[in-house]
């Protein structure tokens, strides 16, 4: 059609710097190769090939991120932002993705092989479900799904416009909804988790989209820097559209980070999902969502800092209090870790409220430190088992320290790190965000932070009491002997948690040097 051809002459082809978007390209390629492997590679080789492709893809993307380290650009016509914070967070996400693949690859724990179901479509309670339990097969689609999700996360933290951010949000969320429903054991719980996550996630996406639309209506652009300029340049006209958009967008993002009062999905989803997937959600998604939150609030709403800070104060306080207090009543390890993650979100939000360079680097450091500790903790959770699968009820952890001191000792170390005891990464992170908050004038928030930390210490210490100071139950859990994969994850998490507690300077420098966000 000639009209279209003429029109094409007017629209300039976008200039794409493939070097600057190479991490995304590598991830996308790895995910597509994974899909092809699923279609063409014989089933007996499929799992190994999928693991290899996923690990290679994630490592390759990490290499690409590392190669870009000093880049400060807005490639693809300003759609993406390749800058220090974006790259630091992308690298963090890729590391967590890599470690999560290792956890997913473990097959030695369950007598029937792996944490993933054979066929997710079979209804629980039917004949097929019984037959499935005996099979050693595994749904290998999980690997490309996870890589897709990582791709979405990297887009999410590198988005320079709200539309691209929304695409990232969907690309990261959709595979996670599926992954949440893939647990081999306790199928009903897993499917409930998937549905709940999907419904609430879709709801929050709608909030995000509505906020996006309002902000576009206000600023006439979806570009983050453009929104900031529009707000700063707006004199005399009403700002209500802007604040409505800010509020709705915040709801969408705060849902993803799991901040109160939008946190209620976390415990259910964490509990029902296969534990390696939970670990991935608790770390990767958290980093991605915080990355987007930080970028939106620092760049797009940076000029409106004095307007949103009271709101974020309230959210941070509520999140810290709700997370720490509700965690006390939990009897399930995964639910307890879920509420603990809510409390940690509150601590990281104090870095956001600081709204300064120190706050950004502290939040990013915290995410990295918290992520490794959490991965280690969930890795330990996969190892403590009863005949029905993982022994997640806390009463089953009685006297674990007597039975396998090394494992229980590692878990105790992770818990102390989560509680923020010095000489662990948790303390360094907490110190970093709190000092940034005090520097940013949020001293009151820090006081709430330290008090809730003391509350939180109670439930971490309670698990230590259970493991070490009580007699083991007669029919206590068995501790599975892990293969190389899970052992490597626990070892790595221990090393990082200790190293970031004792010698954190290198990573602190990296986070500090990541400033500033790119505008444009």
């Amino acid at each position: 059609m000639p009209a279209l051809v003429r029109g094409a002459g007017v629209i300039a082809t976008p200039s794409v710097s493939y070097r600057q978007i190479s991490p995304l390209v590598v991830l996308f390629a790895a995910a597509l190769v994974g899909v092809l492997v699923e279609a063409f590679v014989p089933s007996r080789l499929r799992r190994r090939v999928q693991i290899g492709v996923a690990l290679l893809g994630l490592a390759g993307a990490f290499g690409a991120v590392a190669a870009l380290h000093a880049t400060h650009a807005v490639p693809v016509e300003g759609a993406l932002a390749v800058d220090g914070p974006g790259l630091f967070l992308s690298g963090t996400i890729l590391l967590f993705g890599f470690v999560s693949v290792l956890l997913l690859a473990e097959r030695n724990l369950d007598s029937t092989g792996g944490a993933l179901v054979v066929d997710a479509a079979v209804l629980p309670g039917t004949q097929g479900a019984g037959a499935m339990l005996g099979s050693r097969g595994q749904q290998t689609e999980a690997y490309p799904l996870l890589v897709f999700s990582v791709l979405g996360m990297v887009i999410f933290v590198q988005a320079n416009t709200l539309l691209v951010m929304f695409i990232g949000l969907e690309v990261l969320s959709l595979p996670l909804y599926l992954l949440a429903g893939l647990a081999r054991r306790r199928r009903l719980l897993s499917q409930e988790a998937a549905v709940k996550y999907f419904l609430l996630g879709a709801f929050s996406s709608a909030f995000f989209l509505y906020g996006l639309a309002l902000l576009y209506g206000y600023a006439g652009t979806v570009n983050l820097g453009g929104i900031a300029t529009a707000f700063a340049g707006n004199v005399g006209r009403t700002d209500s559209l802007f604040f409505l958009g800010l509020g709705l967008l915040s709801v969408g993002l705060l849902f993803k980070v799991g901040a109160a009062p939008f946190h209620s999905w976390t415990p259910d989803v964490y509990q029902g999902s296969p534990t390696p997937v939970t670990a991935f959600m608790a770390t990767g998604t958290k980093v991605a969502a915080f990355g987007a939150l930080l970028r939106v609030f620092y760049v797009a709403f940076g000029t409106a800092r004095w307007d949103w800070r009271p709101l974020m104060w309230a959210v941070a306080i509520l999140t810290m209090v709700v997370g720490s207090v509700l965690a006390i009543t939990q009897t399930d390890v995964k639910r307890m870790l879920a509420y603990s993650s809510v409390a940690h979100v509150g601590f990281i939000l104090t870095g956001l409220v600081a709204a300064n360079r120190a706050g950004l680097s502290a939040a990013m450091f915290y995410l990295l430190a918290y992520g490794f500790t959490t991965l280690g903790a969930f890795a330990v959770v996969t190892l403590v088992r009863s005949p029905e699968g993982e022994a997640n009820h806390l009463s089953q952890w009685r006297g674990l320290g007597r039975r396998s001191p090394v494992l229980a000792g590692s878990f105790a170390f992770f818990l102390f790190a989560l509680a923020g005891i010095p000489l662990t990464s948790g303390f360094t992170g907490k110190f970093a965000v709190f000092q940034a908050a005090v520097r940013g004038g949020a001293t009151g928030l820090v006081v709430v932070g330290v008090i809730t930390s003391a509350v939180a210490a109670f439930f971490y210490a309670r698990v230590v009491v259970l493991m070490f100071f009580t007699e083991p139950a007669a029919d206590g859990p068995t501790v599975a002997v892990p293969s190389f994969y899970t052992s490597a994850v626990v070892g790595l998490a221990l090393a990082v948690t200790l190293l970031l507690g004792v010698f954190p300077q290198a990573v602190l420098n990296l986070a500090h040097g990541a400033w500033p966000f790119v505008y444009g």
Partner: protein
């Protein structure tokens, strides 16, 4: 900073027990005897090194000695900075003396826990390392790290090797201390941010002491530090964790906990609260002194009502910590030196008292006072030791505690007369609680047939007690070497807070003294 003494003693004294802990941890599970010997060697080696350090310490040199300072986390201005003054010297020496004693005393107790004995000794040595770090740190961040990290080995010691209600006691101990510690963290961060606003962010004590902090901010920061130390010390009304932790700890753990760990609180008053926040210290001093006096009387009264020997000793400590806090906040060099000396003496006397009570309790498998009675007839040596150590605890002249208690009271009297008089009542009460306990357990006819078979002091136990008994007498008769080292450090501390000894009233009347009065007493000289 003094040019004397370049040997990095603090690092050495911290490293030796840590290396010992690692070695103990590596010993085979079945050979607990190897673990014990290794622990003993490591702790005795630390003691020997501490003695060498004390010998090299120049008592009259100002400031910190054996200083080291390296950049640790430049992003926050954190340094690995350590050094020793008279106060830290005394307390590090106390740690070094008590650790081998505890190792030897726990020879059999460690077998009774729910966890392997080697872990007990490893945790003990790690605690020693962190205590040396706490007393030797001259960087607030480093101090905080050791202060908080110290909780974990102690928590595990109480929880794994303690009595029947050990997990409750361990939890209570951890939560109380952590709560105080986290409040202190907020204050530490506040202090750091103040230093950032006045140049560059630092945690070094020497730089922080030069900061000008507005009085409102000072009050809050002071409270942050103070509550943490008051919980740790523990000062009334923050003391309720101590009787539980003290009673449920294994004997060795209780000696470590009450003997040394709690000194960190009162040490913190002198090292951090007073020099860093001088104005706030003066503002709050009357309140602290009130709490201290209440603690002295309350601790003593409650101690008299105890039925459990270990709880009794714990409550006597609450009373003694009242004296120490009184001494710290009276702002006279007599009271301050007395307080530091009291910290050492209390560590020795109460440590010894816990050990004797522990010997009794392990023989009888009960800590109940009612389970004893007339035991002196069966175990005369043990009973004699009990009496001797009790006398030291109630400050009998000639024994160590008397000197320090006297100094505290004299020093307080010149500034806070009412408080000193009320506190003096505590001495009477102390005589009561010790003697009543002694009478009920040791004197009179044998009450229980089961006590007839009790063994008297064994050779190992005698070796455990010997160094303590020696020091109790030695410091009672001749405390000068220790006081000579403590007093300059205490005076330097109060000088930082601009508090000088009040001019004696006689000198004020004397015409010859009139001329020097204004310059000598300084601004804060009036009592």
């Amino acid at each position: 900073m003094s040019a004397t003494g370049t040997t990095p003693w603090v690092t050495i004294l911290a490293a030796v027990p840590l290396a010992g802990a690692v070695l103990v941890g590596l010993t085979p599970r079945s050979r607990s005897d190897v673990a014990k010997v290794t622990a003993l060697v490591a702790s005795v080696a630390t003691l020997v090194l501490a003695i060498v350090m004390a010998a090299q310490f120049k008592s009259q040199a100002p400031g910190y000695q054996f200083v080291q300072s390296y950049s640790w986390i430049p992003a926050f201005g954190v340094r690995y900075a350590v050094g020793v003054d008279g106060i830290s010297l005394a307390l590090i020496a106390l740690v070094a003396v008590l650790t081998p004693v505890v190792v030897l005393a726990s020879w059999q107790d460690a077998e009774l826990g729910t966890r392997p004995p080697r872990l007990f000794f490893a945790l003990l040595l790690v605690t020693e390392t962190l205590l040396v770090g706490v007393f030797g740190a001259t960087d607030v961040f480093l101090f905080y790290v050791c202060f908080e990290a110290m909780l974990i080995p102690m928590y595990l010691l109480i929880g794994s090797y303690g009595g029947a209600r050990r997990s409750y006691a361990a939890m209570k101990f951890l939560l109380y201390s952590l709560f105080g510690g986290l409040l202190m963290l907020a204050a530490v961060i506040g202090l750091y941010v103040v230093s950032l606003h006045q140049g560059h962010g630092t945690f070094e004590l020497a730089s922080l002491e030069r900061l000008r902090i507005s009085s409102g901010v000072q009050d809050w920061l002071f409270l942050g530090f103070f509550v943490a130390f008051a919980i740790k010390a523990p000062l009334f009304p923050f003391h309720t964790w101590l009787p539980d932790a003290g009673a449920e700890s294994p004997t060795g753990g209780a000696v470590m906990l009450v003997g040394v760990l709690d000194k960190v609180g009162t040490f913190g008053f002198l090292r951090y609260c007073i020099p860093l926040f001088p104005e706030a210290s003066r503002t709050f001093a009357p309140y602290v002194i009130t709490l201290a006096v209440i603690g002295i009387l309350y601790g003593a009264l409650v101690a008299m009502a105890q039925r459990d020997l270990k709880r009794l000793v714990s409550y006597t400590s609450v009373a003694h910590f009242g004296f120490i806090a009184l001494g710290c906040f009276a702002f006279t060099s007599e009271a301050g030196s007395g307080a530091v000396l009291y910290m050492v003496n209390h560590g020795l006397s109460t440590g010894a008292l816990f050990l004797v009570v522990g010997f009794l309790a392990s023989r009888r498998s009960s800590r109940d006072i009612a389970a004893f009675g007339g035991v002196a007839k069966v175990t005369p040596v043990l009973a004699g030791l009990f009496l001797f150590v009790g006398m030291s605890s109630l400050a009998l002249p000639g024994l160590n505690t008397f000197v320090s208690e006297f100094l505290v009271l004299v020093g307080t009297f010149t500034r806070y007369r009412v408080a000193a008089i009320a506190a003096a009542l505590g001495i009477v009460l102390a005589a009561l609680y010790i003697l009543i306990a002694y009478q009920r357990t040791m004197q009179g006819p044998v009450v229980h047939q089961a006590t007839l078979g009790l063994r008297d002091l064994t050779t190992r136990e005698a070796w455990v007690m010997a160094p303590l008994v020696f020091l109790i007498v030695a410091l009672g008769v001749y405390p000068k070497p220790l006081l000579d080292r403590i007093t300059p450090a205490v005076q330097a501390t109060y000088a930082l807070a601009h508090r000088y000894d009040p001019t004696p009233p006689l000198a004020a009347v004397h015409p010859a003294a009139l001329g020097t009065r204004g310059s000598g007493a300084g601004g804060g000289g009036r009592p």
